[in-house]
Assembly symmetry: C2
Homo-oligomer: 116 residues x 2
């Protein structure tokens, strides 16, 4: 892989007030994105992993949402205080953080236990 | 892969006037993103492929930039009129569009023929 060993996308989407689906951020600013970047830099991953902002990842009912490529590991309900664990365990250690993973049946679906 | 067969990120970054590195869009609105979505929907890929907006992908000298996961194929200097070829050849046919690919030596590097 010539570019990044891993490429992390942190949803920064913000919907208008009254929208039917939830938002990953209140105003487009993501403290989760900031903390992920900080932790990745502290772990020496700056040139190997990119922590990217993204538009809506369409898993809004599980917000805030993060996806890690190329392995396509999806995380939901991620808090800034989870960033160190994702960076240390997954991005550095190669072991996805199981407790934060979105269930297969919740991904890319029109209905799940969280989306009705 | 439980979520998307492919996940496409179209950089929509816009830098302030006078910035040292180029921008992928003038104002955050990407006609390339719009056209990619339109073409993917027309090809029947709506539930299998997601065409996402992203923040800066850090390959600014090759803007506008697109990356396709999970295969990590990077495209540069992509125009809206290239969208149909990327969708038809790559996203539908599985054959990356070689003429638009970023060279390995241009990716994730502090200097290349285009970045000094």
């Amino acid at each position: 892989m010539p570019a990044f060993e891993r490429h992390v996308f942190v949803c920064c989407n913000s919907r208008p007030a009254g929208a039917q689906r939830p938002s990953c951020t209140a105003d487009g600013n993501s403290s989760l994105h900031t903390e992920m970047k900080k932790q990745a830099a502290a772990a020496g991953l700056k040139d190997r992993v990119r922590i990217n902002k993204s538009g809506c990842l369409d898993q809004c009912e599980h917000s805030p949402v993060v996806v890690v490529y190329p392995e396509a590991v999806w995380y939901g309900h991620v808090k800034p205080e989870d960033a160190a664990e994702i960076v240390g365990e997954h991005l550095l250690g190669g072991r996805p953080v199981e407790r934060l993973r979105l269930a297969d049946e919740c991904l890319n679906t029109k209905s799940c236990a969280h989306r009705r």
